[in-house]
Symmetry: C2
Subunit: 365 residues, 2 copies
């Protein structure tokens, strides 16, 4: 049923240029409603007992933020009764009802999130999410053939990997699972018998945890540097405020210590927002009397992720040395507790991923 | 959204050859769900306040007969509150929920029936159904250009007209309106300002009621006569039993008094069922030792409908004389309280409708 949501949204826009959110949810929720019925039929055709439920029917209670609602609670009694009676229960993802009984949808990432929320409500042993890959890899096997499936990965690492472009699970469902301590497992829809990747909690106590879990990368971004910015309080907001107001998400932000009262301010945005962002910056640059703007959209972001780096020194220097040995110039650096990201010329991306994968010994378990 | 239900049913059949009725209802109900959202958006785009509701949301309670459920009750409180607040309320037709909260659909004729049921629950002054014609006519204007829109027609007449092929309203909604005394009006979706046709109750007391309201016709049928049938009890059941068991609907049935212990037994079926019915009859004819079968599918049924005929003699003779004057042979006759139907050669159908329309003065109000 892929593409159904987009088809429905297009239909709505033919009628109302900015579709009413409540009515849009009434429409868009039908996509999964059709899917649950089809899945239940398929299960019955296989000789199993199955029943489908919409979000309203099992009362997946959400707030009233149409098109991006958040789950408040799930009444699991009906599901449990069916499970106890030997039924396979098929629940529509991505949807719920608010206190007033209005149909809501959860927005991006809502389908996986529903699964995790159900697992939490039912206190399930594990929530298994079947996807088009058989687990989380140390990096993309299309770039590094030696990439290895991880048997386990921590939630924190998964969050960094997912947001960096290893699109295995919807990030929101991972956050939800972390919050409610649901054990999540990613498995392949297309292969039988695999163990996939279990997303664990750090306190699950795997003492032999690897230092680095994987190399993530992303070439969807563009970088923008505002040069010669007056180094005074409030300047970051003056630059990024109008961009955020225009609905553009900013990813990396880098500002180094200034000198002579001036500094350079760099950030990355999605490539689709590149031209728009440059246009938004024009009046700002004039207003704050910056020296100018340099920018480029032929960049890639490459990140090394691992909870182990918190307790191991030298990860950053290994990363930088490895890239230097290949003559790859680093244009921006940003770090978090468990990740180091660099921005480099796009043309070196695959090379960087390969050499880093090797440098951190990721091909061997 | 026309065709959506058929698309969904086809999709279900790809998954399960005989789709589970409960799950089919979950799927098929989404068609109207999309429609109510689109209609509400369109109303909002026009500057009106509007809200859509599914059958579950306003609790259109039905029995549990999936795919052909019947409405039991409607909780009108929510709708009334919205109406009092100045909202246009858009309710999904064709669907409801049973006591267990399972989604049901009403089957054929269910959309109009929902409208009538809502009008009954809300004790509305009138239920207006917008369709592709601007009312009920004395006959089809494509055949008789002088055909006249009826300002009123009684429920009984409407039922006879509808089942005879004047497809203006879904017959089931007319029955429902009759049962709950809902005043129904048929209006055109494509023309403004028309008064359409009001479907009235006889006791509304229109003393000047016309004797004949209209001429209905139908060329979808085929006739079959079993010749030389032993004239004994149970013979009608022996002939029609296997046909009914095979799911073939029989329309007219005519049997005249027999002589010499034998009679002829005639009936009509839909043309699509003609060959199948003949095949079903073969063993029956042998078994009951009938003399044989004559049949034909080049026939038409023409009917004169009017509550006035109950109190006026001579309608039948006017009808038969009019056809005789044109040399049109009558092959079968059947009558009810308010209708006389004849089966004639298909090629005379339009002629018969025109001369009868004129004979009963239907072109003048």
């Amino acid at each position: 049923m892929s593409g159904e949501t987009n088809r429905l949204i297009a239909l709505a826009k033919e009628v109302q240029s900015a579709p009413d959110p409540r009515e849009l949810d009434v429409m868009v929720s039908t996509g999964e409603q059709v899917t649950i019925a089809l899945l239940s039929m398929a299960l019955k055709e296989l000789g199993l007992r199955a029943r489908s439920y919409t979000g309203a029917q099992v009362r997946i209670l959400t707030d009233s933020a149409h098109t991006r609602a958040r789950i408040v609670s799930i009444d699991e009694a009906r599901i449990r009764a069916d499970l106890d009676a030997g039924q396979v229960v098929v629940v529509a993802g991505f949807q719920g009802v608010d206190e007033g009984g209005n149909i809501t949808t959860l927005g991006r990432g809502g389908s996986d999130t529903t699964g995790v929320a159900l697992a939490a409500a039912l206190q399930a042993d594990e929530c298994q999410i079947y996807t088009d890959v058989d687990g989380v890899y140390t990096t993309d096997p299309r770039i590094v053939p030696e990439a290895r499936r991880l048997a386990t990965i921590t939630f924190e690492e998964m969050l960094e990997m997912a947001s960096l472009g290893s699109r295995v699970l919807q990030i929101r469902s991972v956050e939800f699972a972390g919050k409610y301590k649901v054990r999540l497992r990613v498995l392949s829809s297309f292969e039988d018998g695999g163990e996939g990747t279990l997303i664990t909690f750090e306190d699950d106590g795997d003492m032999e945890q690897a230092i680095i879990s994987g190399i993530a990368f992303n070439r969807d971004e563009a970088k923008i540097t505002v040069l010669g910015v007056p180094d005074r309080p409030g300047i970051a907001y003056q630059i990024l405020g109008p961009i955020g107001d225009a609905g553009v998400d900013v990813d990396m932000i880098v500002q180094n210590v200034g000198h002579d009262g001036l500094t350079d301010f760099s950030f990355t945005v999605h490539r689709n927002d590149y031209r728009k962002t440059l246009a938004l910056l024009e009046p700002v640059v004039k207003h704050i009397q910056a020296r100018g703007v340099v920018s480029g959209d032929r960049i890639a972001k490459v990140s090394v992720v691992g909870v182990g780096m918190r307790s191991h020194a030298g990860i950053a220097s290994t990363m930088f040395r490895t890239l230097a040995e290949e003559g790859i110039n680093i244009e921006m650096i940003s770090t978090s507790e468990i990740k180091i990201s660099v921005v480099i010329d796009e043309k070196y991306m695959e090379l960087a991923v390969r050499v880093l994968h090797k440098a951190f010994n990721l091909e061997s378990a």
